[in-house]
């Protein structure tokens, strides 16, 4: 009799499996999960929750990634097996096919607007900081755009590396410094040296004589113009004066 009672009591003392609470909290979206992924960029640690991907970094170790995430994003983080389709989605995303959803909660509306706009920049192209500022309706907030991009919690996937300075300098990069930024842009097909050369010479736009349209130098609509039809332009005023109108795809100037 007593043995049975004691045993029943001990049965009541059985413990839930290790990590049960953390996995549960992750599942209801109160903690994020993460795993390392092998990508074209090397090992990238990616965090996600039910809203979508919430962080990414090329950290040297899991511990480093956890520390960064808890400090920067401010939520708990649990190592986990990736959902079955996440690796494929990550690969697609890095190859230019947009398949991921993102969780940008915790960022200000301005920061979210900057990151959403940045995501519209196609692979193989680049835009100036001022372009992002103008497109989101804050044309004077160029520096704030730079800060928002520097604090991008999901680099590589939200392609802050595609936002560059107009003076030919590559600009800072939170995802691994200017060298990493240059390397990723090159990998995506941007002729970085050429772009910088143009910028240093003061040329910001490519005009095509036959269409009378001017674009950012990396815009895909201008890419197939014959060399003899290309002219390089310094600014919007001189482009318009020469009879060019801004491209409706890359929108190098407000389309009046």
């Amino acid at each position: 009799m007593t043995t049975l009672m004691t045993d029943l009591k001990r049965l009541g003392e059985m413990k839930a499996p290790a990590g049960f609470a953390d996995r549960l909290l992750a599942h209801v979206g109160m903690a994020d999960s993460y795993a390392p992924f092998d990508t074209v960029l090397g090992t990238v640690y990616v965090a996600w929750n039910r809203q979508g991907v919430s962080g990414a970094a090329r950290s040297a170790s899991a511990a480093e990634f956890e520390e960064w995430f808890r400090k920067d994003v401010g939520r708990q983080l649990v190592a986990a097996d990736a959902p079955p389709d996440l690796a494929a989605k990550i690969e697609d995303e890095l190859e230019g096919r947009r398949r991921l959803r993102f969780d940008l909660r915790g960022l200000t509306p301005f920061e979210q607007a900057v990151l959403r706009k940045t995501r519209e920049i196609p692979r193989g192209e680049a835009r100036p900081y001022g372009w992002v500022a103008r497109e989101i309706g804050h044309p004077a907030a160029v520096r704030a755009v730079g800060t928002a991009l520097a604090n991008n919690p999901i680099p590589y996937f939200i392609p802050c590396h595609r936002v560059v300075r107009t003076d030919g300098q590559i600009g800072n990069y939170g995802g691994g410094g200017p060298e990493a930024k240059r390397a990723i842009l090159s990998m995506e097909g941007v002729r970085v040296a050429h772009l910088q050369e143009l910028a240093r010479a003061g040329f910001r736009y490519q005009g095509v004589k036959t269409t009378k349209i001017f674009c950012f130098p990396t815009c895909h609509t201008g890419r197939h113009a014959l060399e003899k039809n290309v002219v390089w332009l310094r600014d919007e005023a001189s482009a318009r004066a020469a009879g060019f109108r801004p491209c409706k795809v890359c929108r190098p100037a407000a389309v009046a």
Partner: protein, 171 residues
Amino acid sequence: MEGTERMFERMVREHQHRVFALGLALTGNRHDAEEVAQDTFLRAYRALVTYPPDRIRELKQKAWLHRIALNVVRNRVRGVRPRLVELNGSEPDHALGPEAGTLLKAEMDALAVRVAGLPPRYREAVVLRHVQELSYEEAADALGQPVGTVKSNVHRGLQLLRGDNDDNADD
């Protein structure tokens, strides 16, 4: 909302083992017990986010979780299996040492199988009273039954567990 989340996290950390043990005793195996515990807390969470603050404050968490868990198990038995959400794979349980723990665990698993094999009304009564160590009043409250009924069900359940089958009054 933020307050609810913190409160839920405390609730999970405080009651996770209790709810898991309840699931283990009611289902007879650890895998199902984890599913029951998971589903219990998920239901609790979905309910909590709809509750006004004063209702959350007045909540008797232990009794409330027991009622939810009982329902989760009953629904499984009826064949309405909760949709199992894979919580990214369970890690092996290192809570107990590999040597000493294994024996106790095996013993407890065997006992859980026996308890889970009881007819539902005896099983629930015995588990709430003697595994979860609720008072008869608390158990009656969780089960929505009169105290007298719970007492007689506990009594009969213990008899069955002891292999005492002479008294067939209930079957």
